[in-house]
Amino acid sequence: MSVPLLSAKGLTVRHGQLTALHGIDLDLAPGEVFAVVGANGAGKSTLLRTLAGLHPPGGRIRLEDVDITGLSPHERVRRGLVMVPEGRRLFRSLSVAENILLGTVCGRRGGWDLDRVLELFPWMRDRRRERVDHLSGGEQQQVAIGRALVANPRVLLLDEISLGLAPVVVRQIYRTLPTLLEGDTSILLVEQDVRQALRAASRFQCLLEGRTTLAGRPGDHTAEEVEAAYFGFAGTATA
């Protein structure tokens, strides 16, 4: 790989006595979808929150070959590192449109704007003035994605976008991923739904208890290998 768009070296995160991440390395190439999979408590969300600047890490994080380890979350958003958080985390007293516009507060200029988000998710046109707590889980997830898109991310961090959603809604959301890659965006997604994640990603990394247990391309590993790395049943394999 040439210079990665986003790279993390030796990321270590501690929550008090507990070490949530043990020296994780990760490289994201321009224009790729990269999946981080793992069971509950594997450290996936901690990894994403650390990349977004919400946890201070040990190790280094570089975006477009610039060290951003010490940058605050809003400075990272300004540089194009934008997260769709687990559980959507929408702002309940704001309307659909206001939630999306909030993404422009610190975001970059670029091809994504409110118009384009309304084109991507046409249902929002008629419901743009509704408060977001009136929406279904899938609709809320799409608002959260729209909010991140108008910040014109270089790297879009998607945290458990399938969580709590019906399979048909999850498929619908995953179908939009190729559109999100248009322009210069790359996607780093974190998922418990391994099958869905590996279908969407060109490369993946499996975490277990804060350590990488498997990494590579989805086609390079059997389902058994992935399962073993996911649950820690058997010996670990490294790509």
């Binding site: 979350p73 422009t104 610190c106 200029r109 118009d115 910040a151």
Partner: protein
């Protein structure tokens, strides 16, 4: 943010984005807000002319009205938009009153000292914010109250500022009572109008949207690039400036400053009352709440404890029946005099 900053600029309605794929636009005003502009200007003109129409007793009452209105509006922005439920804004009310007193003792005209006192309160709020922003929720509320008590205790220890018994405000001998009453009234009116305009402009700006996000979920707001601490600090400083200016007017209107009065926790109760009655999280709410409070006060003050019981009862009934306050009822019918939200309008809607 640059896109949104452009949208917030000169035009009330502007393109949502440069690409204009489908041409949606952002509209900030509502029909009711546009209709309210002319009546609001007439009310303002009448209020400005009031000292020529009524006796000084009336204008003195109106000064107290404006002081409470300013406190209510600033507390509303703090609690209703930034989620900072402070019980200690009287710290800045007192600091403003004592700043005017100290500046007058140094030979400055008390009326000219008002802006200086307001800015001083803003400066004092910076280190105080570092302290109290370490606390959250109920701890923040109690912490701000403790800060107000510390301010009072420190002030009482200064004999130059009158100690515990207070002292008269010097520097006003040159004014005849009628002129002084009118000038105090206009100062109070100007501060109230500036506070309302300042709050409106701030809440219409990106800070307003960011504040609402922070109030709803500060961690999520941080995740989308908002700086929760920065947004909250801006509001806290502005609220301190408003409360400081109100305290300065209070000192001038009462012609003396006493710590028990200006630092009293009853001010916090009044602020909370007018905001809850009128409607928290709306700019119109504190105006309605202050009017209701003054009507109750003027009609029931002679009934002693019954007045306080009734005021408390009104607050309880409103909290149970209409948590969004009296203005919340008006909002159900789509009435917004000071709209701060973003309304996305389709081209076909613009044409209709």
């Amino acid at each position: 943010m640059t896109e949104m900053a452009t949208r917030e600029g000169a035009a009330d309605e502007s393109p949502a984005a440069p690409s204009q794929v489908s041409g949606v636009r952002i509209r900030r005003s509502t029909r009711s807000s546009r209709l309210a502009i002319a009546p609001a200007l007439i009310v303002l003109a009448v209020l400005a002319y009031l000292p020529f129409l009524f006796a000084q007793d009336t204008t003195n009452t109106m000064v107290n009205f404006f002081i409470l209105l300013v406190l209510g509006m600033t507390w509303n922005v703090l609690a209703g938009y930034a989620g900072l439920v402070s019980v200690g804004q009287q710290a800045f009310l007192g600091a403003g009153a004592y700043s005017v007193l100290w500046l007058a003792q140094q030979g400055m005209d008390p009326l000219a000292a008002l802006p200086v006192a307001a800015v001083f309160c803003g400066v004092v709020a910076i280190p105080v914010s570092w302290l109290v922003f370490r606390l959250r929720g109920g701890y923040f509320a109690i912490g701000t109250w403790a800060v107000a008590e510390v301010f009072a205790l420190v002030t009482i220890r200064s004999s130059a500022l009158g100690g515990g018994t207070g002292t008269n405000l010097p520097g006003l001998d040159g004014y005849d009572p009628v002129t002084l009453g009118a000038l105090t009234y206009w100062a109070a009116l100007a501060i109230a109008v500036l506070t309302l305009l300042g709050s409106y402009l701030m809440l219409r700006s990106r800070v307003g949207l960011a504040l609402t996000a922070v109030r709803d979920d500060d961690h999520a707001a941080e995740g989308v690039g908002v700086r929760p601490a920065g947004a909250k600090r801006v509001v806290y400083l502005l609220a301190a400036i408003g409360a400081g200016a109100a305290g300065g007017v209070l000192a001038i209107s009462q012609l003396n400053v006493q710590a028990d009065n200006v630092y009293g926790v009853q001010w916090a109760a009044y602020m909370i009352f007018v905001v809850l009655i009128g409607g928290i999280g709306t700019l119109e709410g504190p105006i309605i709440g202050t009017i209701v409070f003054f009507i109750l006060q003027q009609t029931l003050a002679s009934h002693g404890a019954w007045y306080l019981i009734l005021v408390g009862l009104v607050a309880v009934v409103m909290a149970l029946w209409s948590p969004r306050g009296l203005w919340g009822i008006a909002e159900r019918f789509g009435v917004h005099l000071f709209p701060v939200g973003y309304r996305v309008v389709h081209p076909e809607e613009s044409q209709s």
